[in-house]
């Protein structure tokens, strides 16, 4: 552990928010490095005195019953009641979510267009893309048969034919 790294992490070391490995590394470094040890002492002393000074200056400041009366008075006079916040309100922070949803929707539309309305590709028969289209062919040679071809157009562009051959007899 170098002095530079130690100085960079000294605040987190005081907070004890570093990983065990880093805490241990800094502790070992402090054992051997007087400069960093001195820095730690200064920071801790500074922190203690600052806290004392700030606390002493404001020790006489108290919110008191007057504060409660003011807050309650202001709430009573305000037309906005405790229970009136309901429902969705589109705030600035929700605009990002709406923006992302709009982009995703447009992408889906574009994808659907290129999958189902691709130019140059000959659609086999009917042009229904998300629903089944039943087309009845009459096979003149085999007049006893009625073929029903069920066209299913799946999202990967493959055509699946399911022939259900029904015998007249």
């Amino acid at each position: 552990m170098s002095c530079r790294r130690c100085k960079k992490l000294i605040e987190e070391y005081i907070d004890e928010t570093l990983s065990q490995r880093l805490q241990k590394g800094i502790k070992e470094h402090l054992t051997n490095c007087e400069a960093c040890r001195s820095l730690l002492e200064v920071k801790q002393r500074f922190s203690n005195i600052m806290h004392q000074l700030m606390s002493e200056k404001t020790s006489s400041l108290k919110a008191g019953p007057d504060m409660l009366d003011r807050v309650q008075g202001a709430l009573e006079n305000d037309t906005f009641s405790l229970s009136s916040y309901r429902g969705l309100r589109i705030k600035f922070r929700y605009r990002l979510a709406w923006g992302v949803m709009t982009v995703v929707f447009l992408l889906l539309l574009t994808t659907a267009y290129f999958f189902f309305f691709r130019p140059g590709e000959k659609a086999p028969m009917a042009k229904s893309y998300l629903k089944c289209v039943a087309t009845i062919y009459e096979d003149k040679d085999q007049s006893n048969w009625i073929e029903r071809c069920l066209f299913l157009r799946v999202t990967n562009g493959e055509h699946a034919y399911m022939k259900i051959i029904v015998s007249k007899n």
Binding site: E11, D15, T17, H51, S55, T58, L68, Y85
Partner: protein
Amino acid sequence: MSVKEKEIVAALKRQDINAVEELVSSFGDRLLRSAYFLCGNKTDAEDLVQDTFIQAVKSVGRFKRKSALYTWLYGILLNLTRHYFRKRKKEVSFFKKTQKQINKQLIPASLNPDLQKDRENASSVFLDCMQTLSLRHREILLLRYFNEMKIKEISSLLGVSKGTVKSRLFYATKHLRKLLPADLNLFTTKKD
């Protein structure tokens, strides 16, 4: 969040009459002291704290319990304080004026923070010095040394990186160092 804080939040959401009283009594003093350091005078601090509680009661439905209740209240106080200074547009002129006053003020030649009497003098000098800092630096010092929050917590509250927090802390301390008496020995190790 502690059990008491959860109870207060639940009571506020239930529109319990006693919830506001509980909220003010639990956090009023701490918020007022923080607001005092931020704006420099008691009257404005009381107004800010009052507005903080009102805003908290109105928007308790949006409190997601990801942080402690005090941290959330403090976040509201910070936002209101920034709005207060923007509205007043006095921060810059206040900063300059107070700095001139500090320069002219007779800072005690000798102050020993270990003595009660000197500590009282030191805290007055210290408050004056705090008011010369920008709002950002005051916030950092308040969060770090008065509220004793960790770097990670400050970073989360202010919405900045840990590096930014440490940087602001460094510059705030550097600025204070120029103004505070050397006798306070705040920036050296204690010499026996």
